[in-house]
Amino acid sequence: MSARRPGAFRRALRLTSARIALGIILLIVVLAFFGGVLAPQNPLAQNTNVVLQGPSSHHWLGTDYLGRDVLSRLMAGTGRSVAGALEAVGIGLLLGVLPGLASLWLGRTYEWISLRIVDAFMTLPYVVFAVAVTGFFGNSLIAAMTAVGVLISPLYFRVTRAAALGLTRTQYVEAAELFGSSRRRVLRTHLWSKILPTLAVTTAQALASALLIVSSLAFLGLGVEPPLPTWGELLSSDLDYLAQQPWAPLFPGLLIMLVAGALNAFADAIRDTGTTQVVAADPAEDASAEADEPIAVGIAPVAQPVLRVEGLRVTVNGGGTEAVHGVSFEVGRGEIVGLVGESGSGKSLTCRAVTGLLAPGCALSSGTVELLGEDETPPVDLAALDRAAWNKVRGPRIGIVFQDPASYLNPSIPVGKQLVETIRVHDKTLSRTAARQRAIELFASVGLRDAETVYRQYPHELSGGMAQRVLIAIAISGDPDLLIADEATSALDVLVQAEVLDLLRGLVRDRGLALLLVTHDLAVVAELCDRVLVCDRGRIVEQGPVANVWSELVGAES
């Protein structure tokens, strides 16, 4: 027998909320066993002289309609209320877990029938069912809880089945079976340890639900066994005397809420700590923290600059670390500038900073980024733009394409429609038909044969190259001055890559675009770029025409 015990509970307890929740639960357990003993007065003692009184020194929570002490009844009622909920959940567990597991192994017929039975019970209005059950078994707490348990069992059935289903298809279980482990062994060693946390979460939630259902049923008179108190029954009788004691339902109500809340919080803790933490993608990768002396690299002035970056600094980790240490460069009209470096060099961060698309936690800490227009239009300070202002820049002034192009499009809308949307957002005068026409022309102009068909396709139906062409079409649809391509061809195979690069070159030439190409691929640089900026550890260590820098590049790479 495996000695591993699920660490889920221990992990959960690291959270403060879980610890508080557990504390409350333990308190309730104590009350469940000793509530009657600990109660200040006899919960059954009637005294018709003091009915329906408010809180006093003698009765901290007042008295009920027979003069009984409310606090004592609440405490004494803990055991029965909790027992009722436990019983319901226990029955639910029993009736749900085993059939749920069995449904995966006993064949299709059993599976189909058991699923239908589960569906049937899930559709029954629980009250009618509870009434039917209590009619059959008698109006006792046990009968009512049995009804609730039966109605909870589908939940367990489905949860167990889903968890087991997910697991049976994992490789290690299949492998285990492949290697001849008996089903039972597989079940024991693999499934239980994985399913247990799920069951624990479900049980905690089911207990909370059962408590609430108990109170509802008691409100309707089911499962009530006078004179022994339960919380639900207290609530129910409180409602008869609401006019005399409007605050009375608060006490049992809050108690129920407290316990249900604690159970849910505990369940949440188990669930939240049980899943592996998704490490937030850190675009800075291993950015260095030292602030070295910046190596002065002369900025070669460029004729007709479109983008001017000076002293750009980018911080990551919420401002804790600087990853880009004062980068400066320009990109001119009709130029193709390559921004090269290994991963971690800061080139992507620079690109994101320039386009205003930094991930949360990253910030442009200082420097200027200016977008220069033709003739006398004033330069736009890109560092100072808010989202609304950026919406007017991205598209009409700057176009951007990314790696893995299909993922940057809405997967559930045809690509043509997305292009039309972009067109119409930036040019509100165009009619839908005109925009559609324009879109098809754009698709054709980026080399998509059969533009009409492509128009109707979804992103996932396109090949990598076609998707990138679509993204490029979208990027240039606003007739921007600057096109930024972040690893645009890195995911494409060589032939397609060549075609896309051709396309980009053509666009630069025909439209006078400035193109900033971020890449780690030297072949691309050699193929396409006029100038190249070499990034290393957050700085531009070399820039100049490709030919000049080439040997440096090659040297650095080897």
Binding site: Q46, Y65, P227
Partner: protein, 517 residues
């Protein structure tokens, strides 16, 4: 979840009892007037809307109505040959009077002339006889058992209805004053009997114009009502029983202008400036005792029980004290009430203990208190019984099984119940104490009582001997039978000050003379 016994379902009782009074059969009550004047709606100050939060009937067809409580709603749209006065005695209604033959086996009712049902069809003797025959013989009629003594109803001429009886029985006029005697338009039930449950056609003070089950009923004054000149309300709206916690708010906000409120709400209602009327009714809370099974087959135990119950404490809990402690089945003011009985079983714990000690079951017999309302009276009763030594537990049974277990199988030792009376006093006795009476689960026969009841049957209601004979029967029953009467359950009505005082009828709430501004 009221602590008072629910009135629906279980207690399928027809309300009303009959009793003799000083009134002559020719009926000269101030309310009766010539039917010819009924047509004019021009009584002074007819108008306004009365909104009554009370209860909606299970069915608008009186023979299909399965709850005795329905009689109040049904009396809004139906009238009978007779009706009851404030004290529960029979007085003329659609009939001007009645005459018995010498030996009491035949009674002839004289119908007013020119009467019509709300659908315009004539209400003559033929129609009346047809309607009464339907009540008596229709296979689905739930009131037919009340008419066992009637052999037939026939029409003689256009204005006389004759009831031929199998045995002498002078109770007929009071019997026909309630749900049993409500006249339904034959045109309606011959055309569409099932539709009557939703659309009644009668000759009562109002007629139904709209009905949404469980939501509301809208009625308007029926100018053709024989006593229309006394009806001053133009519109009537009937609503289901309001919830205790919100009824006062409902009255204040104008959702109702008259509503039934529980005793617990009286103080709040008064504070809100509403008028309160506590109206005696026939409903009495009672414990059904099965003296054929242990431990109640020992008379000492039964007696101990009677002395152990603190009735006024129960009354306080159940109704905040509104009502009277009861040791007999009828309320004060009713002809069957016997003053001489007094308080025969006033609380006496010591006596109860000694009786138990003397019984064959010892000082701690086991008793299960059967009820379907879990909280309230049952809990208190248990505590009271335990105080004198009973080993008392509470057994909660589903409402649906109540009749079966308590009345049919008579398997329960002690049941918390209520009795809402009968139009005919004799029938009330039979239900409570008759050998087949459902509230006599021990199925005891009381020959002396039966003899007295036969005498009552054979005595005309207006005879001077009647009250005495009836009260003698009451005394016998109280002494011999194990039924433990607890307290009366009056009607507590709160009304807005825009509504005039309501007449205080014992059996059925009526609205003659009521105005609303």
């Amino acid at each position: 979840m009221e602590t008072t016994i629910s009135r629906r379902g279980v207690l399928a009782i027809t309300a009303g009892i009959g009793a003799g009074s000083a009134l002559t059969l020719a009926g000269c009550s101030a309310d009766s007037s010539d039917s010819a004047n009924a047509a004019s709606g021009g009584g002074s100050g007819v108008g306004g809307t009365l909104k009554w939060g009370w209860d909606l009937p299970t069915s608008w067809d009186p023979i299909k109505s399965s709850a005795g409580w329905d009689v109040h709603a049904l009396s809004l749209v139906y009238a009978g040959l007779t009706q009851e006065d404030e004290a529960g005695n029979a007085i003329p209604a659609l009939a001007t009077g009645w005459t018995y033959n010498a030996d009491g086996t035949e009674v002839a009712f004289t119908l007013r002339s020119g009467l019509k049902f709300s659908d315009g069809s004539a209400l003559d003797a033929t129609a009346a006889a047809k309607s009464l025959e339907r009540s008596r013989t229709d296979p689905g009629s739930l009131v037919s058992s009340q008419l066992i003594t009637v052999a037939s109803f026939t029409a003689v001429g256009t204005d006389t209805v004759v009831a031929k009886l199998k045995t002498p029985n002078f109770q007929i006029p009071t019997l026909l004053a309630g749900k049993t005697g409500m006249l339904v338009s034959p045109t309606a039930f011959e055309a569409n009997a099932t539709g009557l449950s939703l659309k009644p056609v009668g000759a009562g003070p109002f007629q139904l114009t709209a009905y949404t089950e469980n939501a509301s009923a809208t009625l308007v004054r029926f100018p053709g009502f024989w006593n229309a000149s006394k009806i001053h309300i133009e519109n009537f709206e009937l609503y289901p029983l309001p919830d205790a916690s919100t009824v006062v708010a409902g009255l204040e906000s104008g959702q109702y202008n008259v509503a039934s409120i529980p005793g617990s709400e009286v103080a709040a209602a008064k504070e809100a400036g509403l008028q309160i009327q506590v109206i005696d009714s026939l409903v009495v809370a009672v414990l059904d005792i099965n003296d054929a099974i242990a431990p109640f087959d020992d008379d000492n135990v039964v007696l101990a029980l009677k002395y152990a119950v603190d009735r006024s404490a129960l009354l306080q809990t159940a109704q905040f004290g509104y009502g009277e402690v009861a040791y007999q089945p009828f309320p004060k003011g009713y002809v069957g009430y016997n003053d001489a009985i007094g308080s025969p079983y006033a609380l006496n714990a010591a006596k109860a203990k000694s009786l138990l000690a003397a019984s064959k079951y010892g000082a701690n017999p086991t008793v299960a208190i059967t009820t379907y309302v879990a909280a309230g009276v049952a809990e208190q009763l248990q505590s009271q019984l335990q105080a004198v030594g009973f080993n008392a537990t509470i057994k909660v049974i589903p409402e649906a099984q109540f009749s079966e277990l308590v009345y049919i199988q008579h398997s329960e030792q002690l049941t918390v119940d209520a009795f809402a009376g009968r139009d005919s006093a004799v029938q009330a006795f039979q239900v409570l104490f008759g050998e087949q009476g459902l509230l006599n689960p021990g199925r005891h026969a009381y020959p002396a009582l039966q003899a007295e009841l036969t005498q009552v049957n054979e005595t005309p209601l207006d005879s001077s001997k009647y009250p005495g004979l009836l009260q003698a029967a009451t005394a016998t029953a109280v002494k011999q039978a194990p039924n433990v009467f607890l307290y009366t359950e009056p009607r507590i009505l709160a009304r807005a000050s825009s509504v005039s005082a309501l007449p205080e009828y014992l059996v059925v709430q009526r609205f003659e003379g009521v105005t609303t501004s």
